[in-house]
Structures are given as C-alpha cells and as structure tokens.
Subunit: 261 residues, 2 copies
C-alpha cells in the first residue's frame, strides 16, 4: 500500500524466508505451471536464485516438475491445515453452518479479519448451488463484503478510523458506498443495528447478510448467508433472517467454550 514498501523492518530479517514464500506465491490461479524464468520475473529474483529455490522446494515435496515447468503439490495445503486445525471455531461452527445452509438453501460462511481482508474459515455450500463455490482460505477485501464490514464495525473506534484512512475503495458493483466517508457512516449504522446487508457484494445479483459471532466482549468471527435476490420465499430480512442468524451465531459462541484467545 505505501509507495516504497521495504519489508526489512526488523534488524533480524531473514531474506531467504521472504524469497522462499515469494516463490511459492508466484503460483497463482491463472498461472499454475511456471518455468524458472517466469518465477524469476514474478519474484524479482535472479534466474539462478529462483532456480535454487525451485529445486529446493521440489526436493522438499512442495513443488513438482513436469518438463521444465513447476507446479505446486498438494503438500502446500499443510500450512493452512496447521492453521485450521489450531482453530476450534471452524470445527464447532460447521454443523451450525450446515443446518443453516440446508434450512435456507443458501451458502453460509464464517470468516475472520486478516489485515484488511476477510478470510473464510468455514463454509457450507447451499445444497442446490450448482456453481463454482468459493473455497476455504479465500480472501476478499473487507470493505466490500458484508462480513468484512461487520467485523470492521466491531473494531474499536481508533482501529476503525485507521482503516478508513487507508482503505482504497474501488468502484466495485456495490452502489451504496463509493467513498471512505460513506463507508464510515455505514459502519456506524452497522454497529448500532448489529447486522450488515450488502447488495451486489460480488458481481452477480447476490446479497450478503452478516452478523457478528460474539463471545463476551470480543468478536470471534462474522457469520454470513448469501441471498439470491430471486429466492426469498416471503421471508423478511430484518424480521426473519436477522434473528435466525443471530440465534445461530449465539449457538456457535455458546458451543465455543474454548480458550478466550
């Protein structure tokens, strides 16, 4: 975000670590099969350096090679698995999400904040959903999503202000908010009412409804259901759905007897 972003903050900085991860992250959805030079270009490493890292990662089993192209192996999932396994919340929430998804016939998702993004930590797909489902670990800009706004709204005022100062609102499809100031007003409203509705939150005719999962004073996560505009069988959002979601959120929080963390 900042113009000259040099991440060599701490005096004990292991540059190789950064490079290692950069190489792994060079493999993206649109470009899953990369050559040495492509990786070198993507990571700003020398071709020789990139090659060293690629070979090392291959030896370690995180990359596979096919001809002169490299690709990620399933083993890279281990990192995320370690994180998810350490969290109790997804395990506990899953049955509740399943119920909700089955009952409403809409996808239900649980997410938390990481930097200025939300990250999906648990999800139940709508049974009748015959489309591409967004997967665990997916990352979306907080300001643009119902869960993100809900989570930001739950933050202390100071953090919220800092967020508003640095957020860059790109003209997405959402028509209700187009500036940081507007978003600030929206956040106030959300905080007061305790839930958040975002229309056209991703590009299709989709709406997202989110409520916080609170345990005592702190917010553990945000719970969301997608709402196909066409598919609201006479249910009122404010009178039917919000209470329903809040009840589920409460159940999750209750089941979550674990560490406060």
């Amino acid at each position: 975000m900042s113009p000259t972003e040099e991440p060599s903050q701490s005096p004990h900085y292991v540059k190789s670590a950064e490079k290692t991860l950069a190489v792994l992250l060079a493999f993206t959805a649109d470009n899953p099969h990369l050559t040495v030079t492509e990786v070198a270009a993507a990571t700003h490493l020398t071709r020789a350096a990139a090659r060293r890292f690629l070979l090392t990662l291959t030896d370690l089993g995180y990359l596979s090679t096919e001809g002169s192209r490299f690709a990620l192996t399933p083993r890279v999932l281990d990192f995320g698995a370690g994180f998810l396994a350490g969290l109790d919340l997804p395990k506990i929430a899953q049955p509740h999400l399943n119920d909700l998804a089955l009952d409403l016939d809409e996808s239900a998702t649980l997410s938390i904040l990481d930097a200025d993004d939300i990250v999906y930590i648990a999800r139940a797909a709508a049974p009748r959903l015959h489309a591409v489902t967004v997967n665990l670990g997916n990352r979306l800009p907080a300001w643009a999503t119902s869960m993100g706004r809900m989570l930001i709204a739950e933050l202390p005022e100071t953090f919220q202000q800092q967020f508003l100062d640095r957020v860059e609102i790109s003209p997405f499809t959402d028509h209700t908010v187009s500036s940081a100031a507007e978003l600030g007003k929206e956040l106030k409203k959300i905080r007061v009412q305790g839930w958040c509705l975002v229309s056209q939150e991703l590009d299709d005719g989709l709406r997202g409804l989110a409520v916080p999962v609170r345990r005592g004073d702190n917010t553990l996560a945000a719970l969301n259901v997608s709402l196909h505009t066409s598919h609201l069988r006479g249910l009122s959002i404010e009178n039917d759905l919000v209470p329903r979601l809040q009840k589920v959120a409460a159940s999750i929080a209750e089941d979550y007897g674990g560490r406060a963390e």
Copy 2:
C-alpha cells in the same frame, strides 16, 4: 522413513528455505501457540535462528505474536489457496459432490495421492452431520482409507510394488488388512472390481466406499462417500451405491474438459 534422511540432495540447496517451512510447520493442531524455544526445539534450530525466522514471518504477516508466543495467521492459507485455485477438478466436482451428499445424506469427498498420503481436495458434508468434519487439505495414510487404496490400485504395477515395500501398516482399527502382503492381495481385487470398500476406516463405526475418477487412461482422483453402518436404507452397496458413485465419477470426468496435465 529412511534411517539417515539428509534432504540435501541437490547441489543447489537453499537451506533457509527448508528452515522457513520447518518453522511454519512447527505449529500443529495440539500446539498452535509456541514460544521461541519451543520452535527451536521442534525445528532443531538455534534459539537465535528460530527467533530470526519467527520475527521475519511475523513481519511478513504469516505469524502473529501474543506476548511471547507466536501463532499462525489466516494468511498461511494463501499457499493452499494458490494450489486449489490452480486445480480445476475441485471446482468442477463440487456441485456433483453436493448432489451426492444431499441425496445419500452422507459426506462425499474427492482426494488425490501425494507421496503415500491422500489429500482431500474437495468435500461436501452430509447435511445431517453434526460432528467434526474433516477439512480440505487433510492428509491421511493412503493404505488405511478407501480412496487411498483405490488410488494405489490404479497405479502401474511397479509403483504399486514399491509402495507395498515401504508401507508401514500400523494396527489401525481396520480388521481386514494387517500386512503388506494382505494389502497387495486386496489391491489386486480392488483394481479388478473397480471400487473399494473399507470398514472402520477411521475409528468409529464408519465405512468408506471409493471409486476412481478416470479420464481416458489416467486416474484424476478418487471419489468417496462415507457410510454410516446404521444408515443404509435398504440400499445394496454393490448394486445400488457403486453404480451411483461411478455415474457421478463419470460426470465429473466428463465435465473436466480441461488440460490433461
């Protein structure tokens, strides 16, 4: 596996890369919050070295610190996300899995082989399942699971033999196989019949039924449904379920028009 496993194979080996990943993997399910010394112990690094890596990873946003303990942040999911996004199969298979899970009221899973483990790459939970669900990226020993056996059985003879030579069968709960020789016989049978049933595949009274997802000559993945022993509404495994699964597997393979890879 081998007694003296020194992974410094290639002459261009970046040791820091290995260390970086080792530090990330030090965080396990039972020990998600670690101190510097704990990490040092787990990774066989000096305390100073461990600290350097921990600080670096914190700077990069992959670790968070709480007092003097470190923990993974959601960002580690990025690595796995990159892999999953690169695969077309999960996206394509998901709706089929959802259908299957909804129809049978049992969990449906898709997995592939990585080394001697299977890794879940897509999954639909049984709607009525109120238990802990196993998540994406989970890793289980191939020999012990229906999908694993199915995938091994699909391998060429030579690979299969190599696998049998090195596999270590621990006395799990499964009663049907207790030695590599028996497993070999079982694999032959599986290969011929084209499906695989494993009883008590994990410790509860659960069975797993798997079929291959084939596209042309090569096997893309294994498809599986769990079978609660109590919960077979008069359906015959061989006459009802196997054909059903095979049909779904065929649909998935058909939808998967993508690259041969």
